[in-house]
């Protein structure tokens, strides 16, 4: 067989490409930056592999295949100049110009590194440090900068890794806002979008302005009574679902989502039926709290789908819970005045209320069937 030039080329590359020729990791290129923050000052050291610097900047000037200490020292000014642009530190009040001290060397497992002592002064007090680095990325697509920043006053250390696709980061205490606001918002949204929770709350509110008399529902005249009762119910519900949300989100108690969703449907149906055929007439808040426990597991299932940041777990949980309360209060604020006005009408008490209750109970019952047996009837 004769081998064409093409085939030879392919053959050579085939050798290169062989998938079974596994790429065992040796050592990929890394640089290290260790920073200490105190007040407005930054001190630290940067370690760069001598061979990486040689590849990028040509340390071995006589090309004898060896880098001497004199050759390394000779490259220092060029290195300082390059790092002035390709390592940028900044604090909350602006950039922190840095200067590099005398060159030293150190030995790591994969070779000898240049060590550059670093100091920088920032325009304001530091609560962390932002940095941008791209010294060796143009020369090595696999290069990484491993950064540690420590704050000895608070005994805190943060670590980060900069890569060609992510050459900037901020190290320091987490800023609370990016966690708090989004999770608060998610809580509100879920409360209002979770139609089963809304329906349950509405059902509680339908009779908030009424008392059960010997001849059926009657208007509770005192606004104080109405407000106190509504506050009691909502608070009980809140306490209930806060407990289970915390238990589930922290992984202490875990329930499968299917049965939880079915139970939530059952709470809706029960609350609605309770209006027409009174089963629980006293201490309704106990039922609200108990049902809150069930709804909390439902909230937790949503929370699980949002990537809860492990570092700010408690804050995110709190914000989400608070969001749920905000959503609830919005419901109450909208519906309570309506039921207060409507409660004065006999038509509402005698016709609309039972009709609404039966309707809600029907929806709850259908959900219960849907969620228990995995069939779709209503599709909401």
């Amino acid at each position: 067989m004769t081998i064409s030039r093409n085939a030879l080329l392919v053959a050579l590359l085939a050798l290169l490409f062989g998938g079974s020729e596994r790429a065992y990791a040796h050592q990929s290129s890394e640089a290290y930056l260790a920073l200490t923050l105190s007040g407005t000052a930054v001190s630290g050291r940067m370690d760069l592999h001598l061979q990486d610097l040689d590849h990028a900047f040509g340390l071995d000037t006589d090309r004898d295949g060896q880098i001497t200490w004199a050759e390394a020292l000779a490259a220092k000014p060029a290195l300082d100049a390059a790092l002035a642009d390709s390592l940028v530190l900044s604090g909350p009040k602006g950039g922190c110009p840095h200067s590099l001290g005398a060159l030293e060397l150190t030995r790591r497992s994969d070779g000898v590194y240049a060590v550059l002592p670093l100091s920088a002064a920032c325009p304001g007090a530091l609560d962390g440090i932002a940095l941008h680095y791209d010294l060796l990325f143009p020369f090595d697509a696999g290069h990484r900068l491993r950064v540690t920043a420590s704050d000895p006053d608070n005994a805190d250390t943060w670590i980060g890794t900069l890569t060609p696709s992510a050459p900037a980061t901020r190290l320091g205490p987490a800023e609370p806002l990016p966690v708090f606001i989004p999770f608060l918002w998610q809580g509100v949204v879920h409360m209002l979008e979770g139609i089963d929770h809304v329906l349950f709350l509405l059902t509680l509110l339908l009779t908030a302005c009424l008392v059960r008399g010997p001849s059926g529902w009657q208007m509770a005249l005192s606004f104080y009574t109405v407000a106190a009762r509504t506050a009691g119910l909502v608070t009980a519900f809140t306490i209930g679902h806060s407990i289970t949300l915390a238990l589930a989100a922290s992984g202490t108690v875990l329930l499968p989502p299917g049965p939880v969703e079915a139970l939530i449907a059952a709470t809706v149906a029960f609350a609605a039926l309770n209006i027409v055929w009174p089963m629980v007439t006293r201490r309704v808040w106990v039922v609200a709290a108990g049902f809150g426990l069930i709804h909390g597991f439902g909230f937790a299932n949503v929370l699980a789908e949002l990537d809860l940041p492990p570092a700010d777990f408690a804050l995110a949980l709190f914000a989400f819970n608070l969001g749920v309360e905000v959503g609830q209060l919005l419901c109450v604020a909208l519906v309570l005045p309506l039921t207060y006005l409507a409660g004065r009408l006999a038509l509402y008490r005698q016709v609309a209320l039972p009709a609404l209750s039966l309707g809600v109970a029907g929806v709850g019952a259908i959900w219960l069937v849907e969620r228990s047996f995995g069939v779709i009837v209503l599709g909401i």
């Binding site: 392919v10 290169l16 065992y24 990791a25 880098i67 697509a141 809860l308």
Partner: protein, 346 residues
């Protein structure tokens, strides 16, 4: 859901380890003498050239032979630079795919190869490359499709190697080895690199089948490609697994890749030696880049076979299995599961 996983605790612990590790920077020094040699120079020098392709090919070739991720990284930077000047050049995209493959970024590699093959369906380099990536991912039908689509001009031996590789992964060792032996004897004029590749593949398939004939093919491959460290490593594993750890140590020489250090440590343990230095080197390398995609297989093997940390080994073996699905990966997963006691429950 969040705190109930033992992994969370383990990774928190590892993170703490990393922090401790990062804090302890090695001591700095200043040589007394200006003429003191402080380091060998880099084997490469960043240069600007009008046609970087030959340079990139040479670098990737050296990276593979020396199992050196640093060289892959440098080649990767050159590829990106060249692509920014001339976007969409198929040869550059293929090289970028090869580099991504070495870094176990298989989806990136497949995306580039799909682009190349859409432009040039007859591109044998891209076709062959993709066949082997599909094989690594356990997508054997797609791998075979690419083998079938290889242009006839690549020669019978390469086509046979392609099919035999997949057949071997399917467990059809006898047919795969027979086909390779036939093609090797029919195509004696193939370039030595290709013959070395075919011999090493045959050896691997026979070794998997427990056939001692693997030794002959490893020897032939070694004769043809004496400097191939990846081959040396697989040969050493074979020697150790067939009860000759002493020969395995000789075959490894002083190679310092993760795989070589790992194999040396396992061989030393097999000889009843402590392998303290090797374990320390690996512990330092792995804890620095724990869970890095590229050496999950090696890290899992290290935790399982040398450090007696089966839970962490299982975590890594599972991550590895999501990325690559060769028989070694399955064996690793099964062993790790057995080690933590999952095997008996199933």
């Amino acid at each position: 859901m969040f705190l109930n996983k033992p992994y969370a605790v383990i990774s928190a612990f590892l993170m703490a380890l990393c922090l401790g590790h990062a804090k302890a920077a090695p001591e700095a020094f200043r040589p007394a003498d200006l003429t003191e040699i402080v380091s060998p120079a880099s084997p490469t020098r960043a240069t600007v050239s009008a046609d970087p392709l030959p340079q990139i090919r040479a670098m990737v070739s050296a990276a593979r032979a020396g199992m050196d991720p640093r060289l892959y990284g440098r080649a990767g930077a050159l590829v990106e630079q060249a692509l920014s000047v001339r976007p969409g050049v198929p040869d550059l995209l293929t090289l970028r795919a090869v580099i991504a493959q070495a870094d176990h970024r298989f989806p990136d590699a497949l995306a580039d190869l799909a682009t190349v093959l859409a432009m040039q369906p007859g591109d044998a380099q891209a076709r062959l490359s993709r066949a082997f990536i599909f094989a690594t991912l356990g997508r054997l039908d797609e791998a075979e499709n690419d083998c079938s689509a290889l242009a006839p001009r690549v020669g019978d031996l390469i086509r046979t190697v392609c099919f035999a590789h997949v057949r071997g992964l399917r467990g059809d060792y006898a047919a795969a080895a027979r086909g390779l032996a036939r093609a090797l004897s029919a195509d004696r004029n193939a370039p030595p690199e290709v013959r070395a590749w075919a011999h090493s593949l045959t050896a691997g398939i026979l070794a998997r089948a427990g056939d001692p004939g693997a030794g002959h093919h490893f020897a032939e491959a070694t004769r043809l490609a004496p400097d191939d460290q990846a081959l040396a490593l697989r040969h050493a594993s074979f020697l150790r697994e067939t009860g000759n750890p002493r020969a395995a140590l000789r075959r490894l020489g002083d190679s310092q890749s993760d795989g070589a250090v790992l194999e040396r440590a396992i061989a030393k343990r097999a000889l009843g030696q402590p392998a303290t230095a090797e374990v320390a080197v690996l512990e330092a390398r792995f804890s620095r880049q724990s869970g890095s995609r590229r050496h999950l297989r090696e890290e899992a093997r290290f935790r399982l076979s040398l450090q007696n940390q089966p839970v962490e080994a299982l975590r890594l073996a599972r991550l590895n299995w999501q990325i690559q699905k060769e028989p070694e990966d399955l064996a690793l997963l099964t062993e790790a599961e057995a080690a933590v006691g999952l095997g008996e429950q199933q």
